[in-house]
C-alpha cells in the first residue's frame, strides 16, 4: 500500500489506426455564446435576431444588421455616406489603423445615419457600430450625429440613436472630446423645440458616448445585459480597491439605479419603438407647432 505511493503507473501508447482529423465544419457555421458557452448553429442564432436561444444573451449587431431589423423592409435613405475620418493630429499609427478598419468592416466610420420608417412612421436614426474602431467617436461620428439631429429638426421628425461605443476616439484627442459638446448642444436645440429623441443603448455604451447624447434621450432604452457606464471597470476597481459585482454597469444595474426608462428585449424592440412613436404622432408632426 505505502509503496504504491512511490510507484509510478506506466501507460502504453496504442496507435489508433487513423490520424484524428478536425471535424469538417465550414468556418462560421457554428457560433459559441460568450455568456452560456453553448455552441449552436449560427443560422439558428441569426433567425433568433442574434439572441442566444439558450440563455437570451444579445450578440452585438453591426449597423447594417440593426438597420435591417429596425427599419421597415430594412430600407434606409442614408445621409453623409461619403464622410471619412482624417488624421488631424498626425497621431502615430492612426492613418494605417483607419485603413485597416475600413477594409475589415467595409464601412467608412463608426456610424450610419439616415431616414426610414418604423411601423410606417418616418424617423431619422443613427446606428453606431462596434465593428469599426470599437464604435469610438471622433470628428466623423460627432459630425454625422449632429447632422442627423439637424435633419430631424428641419424635417420635424423624431430621432432615434442606437449607441454602441467604447467612448471618445483617443487618436483625435481634444477634437473627439468636443464632439460630446457639439452633439449635446444640437440635442438641446432639437429637444428644446419639442423634438422627440429616443436613445437606445446597446452593448457596450461607455465613456464619451454615454456621457453625451446616449444619456440624453426623452426616453432611455437599453438591450438586456448591455454594458453601460462612464468609467471602465478596471479603472474603478483600481480606485476603490475592491472587486465589483458581476452585474456592475449592466443595463439592469442602470435600470435599478434610475438611469433608464426600460430594458427591452430585442424581440420587443421594434414594436416598443413603434408604440412610442405612435404615442407622439397625434399632431401629425412630432415637433410642437409642426
Amino acid at each position: 500500500m505505502f509503496k504504491d505511493l512511490f510507484h509510478k503507473k506506466k501507460y502504453a501508447t496504442i496507435p489508433s489506426g487513423q490520424p484524428r482529423t478536425k471535424p469538417d465544419i465550414p468556418e462560421g457555421l457554428m457560433s459559441k455564446c460568450p455568456k452560456c458557452g453553448n455552441i449552436q448553429f449560427s443560422k439558428e442564432i441569426e433567425k433568433n435576431l442574434k439572441v442566444c436561444p439558450g440563455c437570451g444573451h444579445h450578440f452585438r449587431l453591426s449597423a447594417w444588421e440593426r438597420i435591417a431589423m429596425t427599419f421597415d423592409e430594412g430600407r434606409l435613405a442614408e445621409f453623409d455616406a461619403e464622410m471619412e475620418s482624417v488624421d488631424p493630429l498626425g497621431f502615430p499609427g492612426y492613418a494605417n489603423k483607419l485603413e485597416a478598419q475600413k477594409k475589415s468592416s467595409g464601412l467608412k466610420d463608426a456610424v450610419i445615419t439616415g431616414e426610414g420608417t418604423i411601423g410606417g412612421l418616418p424617423v431619422v436614426a443613427a446606428f453606431m457600430t462596434f465593428d469599426f474602431f470599437a464604435g469610438s467617436m471622433g470628428s466623423v461620428v460627432g459630425e454625422k450625429i449632429t447632422r442627423a439631429i439637424e435633419q430631424a429638426h428641419a424635417k420635424k421628425l423624431p430621432l432615434i440613436i442606437f449607441s454602441t461605443s467604447s467612448g471618445a476616439r483617443m487618436q483625435e484627442s481634444i477634437l473627439s472630446l468636443m464632439q460630446m459638446a457639439k452633439t449635446s448642444a444640437a440635442l438641446a436645440k432639437f429637444q428644446g423645440d419639442g423634438g422627440l429623441y429616443i436613445s437606445v443603448m446597446t452593448d457596450p455604451t461607455t465613456g464619451g458616448v454615454s456621457a453625451s447624447f446616449a444619456m440624453l434621450g426623452d426616453y432611455n432604452l437599453a438591450e438586456p445585459g448591455a454594458l453601460i457606464g462612464f468609467a471602465g471597470r478596471i479603472v474603478i476597481e483600481q480606485t476603490i480597491r475592491q472587486k465589483l459585482p458581476d452585474n456592475f454597469q449592466t443595463a439592469e444595474f442602470n435600470l435599478q439605479h434610475g438611469q433608464l426608462d426600460k430594458v427591452v428585449h430585442r424581440k420587443e424592440l421594434k414594436a416598443t419603438l413603434a408604440k412610442l412613436l405612435d404615442m407622439h404622432s397625434d399632431k401629425g408632426g412630432i415637433i410642437n407647432g409642426g
Binding site: V86, A168, S173, Q179, G208, S210, F230
Partner: protein
C-alpha cells in the same frame, strides 16, 4: 527648492550656487561681484531657454505642480465678496467642485471651479478634484441660478477627470456630465471658461461649454490623461511624457484647433511663482471678454456658443448638394 521639477534642476542648481557665493563673499569680505554678475547673466539666459521652449510633457508637469494655484486661490484674488454656495439639493455637497456668488470689478457673477486639495487630508475630502455626479449637479444648479438672474458665469477648469468610482456610476456619472453639456448650451448669459491646470476629459468639459474658453500658457486639456493614453498605446502608463508629445494637449495646439480663444501668459516658471500677477492677467482677460459678450442679447449669446462648438471637428466629405446649388446660382449671377 520645494516642488522642483526635474527639468528645472540645472537652473535651480545655478541659483543655489549664486546664493552660496554671495553668502561666502559677505562672510569673507572678498569681492565676487564680477563672478556673480556673470552667473546671474547665465541664469537669466538659462531661464529663457528653459521656459520659452517648454515641451508638452514639461508643461504637463507644470500644470500638475502641487503648488499650482487652485480655483479657490484665484477666486480669492480676482473677485470680491465671494459667497460659497453648497449642495446639489439631491444627494450631497461634492467638495471637488466649488461655486458661488462673487463680484468682478463690482459686477455680480456666478463663479464655479474644480477644486483640488491643498494637502493630503484636503485632497481626500475633495477627491483630488475629481467630481461625483453631485458635483456636476451642484454646478448645474448654480448655473441655472445665474441664467435665471441674468448673471455671467465664470468657470475654472482643473481636474484629472470625473471620479471613477462605483458610487459615481450608481448615481449616474454619465447622465450628470451629459446633462451639463446640453444645459450649458442654452443659458442666455455669457459663459467664460478658464483652463487653469489640467483639463481632463468629460469631467473638465462638464464645466467647459463656454462662449469663450481661455487657457493658461502651461495648462493642458485632453480627452484622456497622457498616462491613460500611454497605458492604452504602449501598455505602460509611465510613458506619459511621450504620450503628451503626440496628443496635442497644449494651449497652443487647442488654439489652432479653434477650441481656445486666448492663451493667458504665465509668470516665468509657471503660475505658482506669482499668484498675484497671474490672477491679475486672468482677471484682465475675463473682464475684457465679458465686456465683448455683454453687448450680445441672450439669443445671440446662445447662438454664439452654439456656433463655436458646431464648427469643431475635422473630416473629409463631399460638399452637400444644397451648397453646391447655391454656388452654381452665385456663379451664374456673375
Amino acid at each position: 527648492m520645494a516642488g522642483e521639477l526635474p527639468f528645472e534642476k540645472p537652473l535651480n542648481e545655478l541659483q543655489r550656487k549664486i546664493e552660496e557665493l554671495k553668502k561666502f563673499g559677505q562672510e569673507s569680505g572678498i569681492d565676487f561681484s564680477d563672478e556673480i554678475n556673470r552667473m546671474e547673466e547665465r541664469c537669466k539666459q538659462l531661464q529663457e531657454e528653459l521656459y520659452n521652449e517648454l515641451t508638452p510633457a514639461q508643461k504637463m508637469h507644470l500644470a500638475r505642480h502641487h503648488g499650482r494655484p487652485t480655483s479657490l486661490d484665484y477666486i480669492g484674488e480676482i473677485f470680491t465678496d465671494f459667497i460659497e454656495l453648497h449642495g446639489d439639493r439631491l444627494f450631497a455637497d461634492d467638495l471637488a467642485i466649488v461655486g458661488g456668488l462673487a463680484k468682478l470689478n463690482g459686477v455680480p457673477v456666478t463663479v464655479i471651479g474644480h477644486q483640488r486639495g491643498k494637502d493630503t487630508k484636503d485632497n481626500i475630502a475633495r477627491f483630488f478634484g475629481s467630481p461625483h455626479p453631485e458635483g456636476f449637479r451642484k454646478a448645474l444648479r448654480l448655473m441655472q441660478q445665474a441664467h435665471k438672474f441674468g448673471r455671467p458665469i465664470i468657470t475654472f477648469i482643473d481636474t484629472k477627470g470625473a471620479y471613477p468610482g462605483n458610487t459615481a456610476e450608481e448615481r449616474g456619472q454619465s447622465e450628470a456630465i451629459a446633462r451639463n453639456l446640453r444645459e450649458m448650451a442654452m443659458f442666455g448669459v455669457p459663459i467664460i471658461c478658464v483652463v487653469i491646470g489640467e483639463g481632463g476629459s468629460g469631467g473638465a468639459l462638464a464645466l467647459g461649454v463656454g462662449n469663450r474658453v481661455l487657457m493658461l500658457e502651461n495648462a493642458i486639456y485632453s480627452v484622456i490623461s497622457p498616462n491613460g493614453a500611454a497605458s492604452i498605446l504602449w501598455k505602460d502608463a509611465s510613458r506619459a511624457d511621450e504620450a503628451a508629445a503626440v496628443m496635442k494637449i497644449t494651449a497652443g495646439d487647442l488654439m489652432e484647433f479653434g477650441i481656445v480663444e486666448e492663451i493667458i501668459e504665465e509668470p516665468q516658471g509657471g503660475a505658482h511663482r506669482d499668484l498675484a500677477a497671474q490672477s491679475e492677467t486672468i482677471k484682465e482677460a475675463i473682464w475684457r471678454h465679458l465686456g465683448e459678450l455683454s453687448k450680445l442679447s441672450s439669443e445671440e449669446l446662445i447662438a454664439d456658443r452654439y456656433n463655436k462648438f458646431r464648427k469643431i471637428g475635422q473630416y473629409r466629405a463631399p460638399k452637400p448638394e444644397a451648397e453646391l446649388m447655391v454656388d452654381e446660382i452665385e456663379s451664374a449671377n456673375v
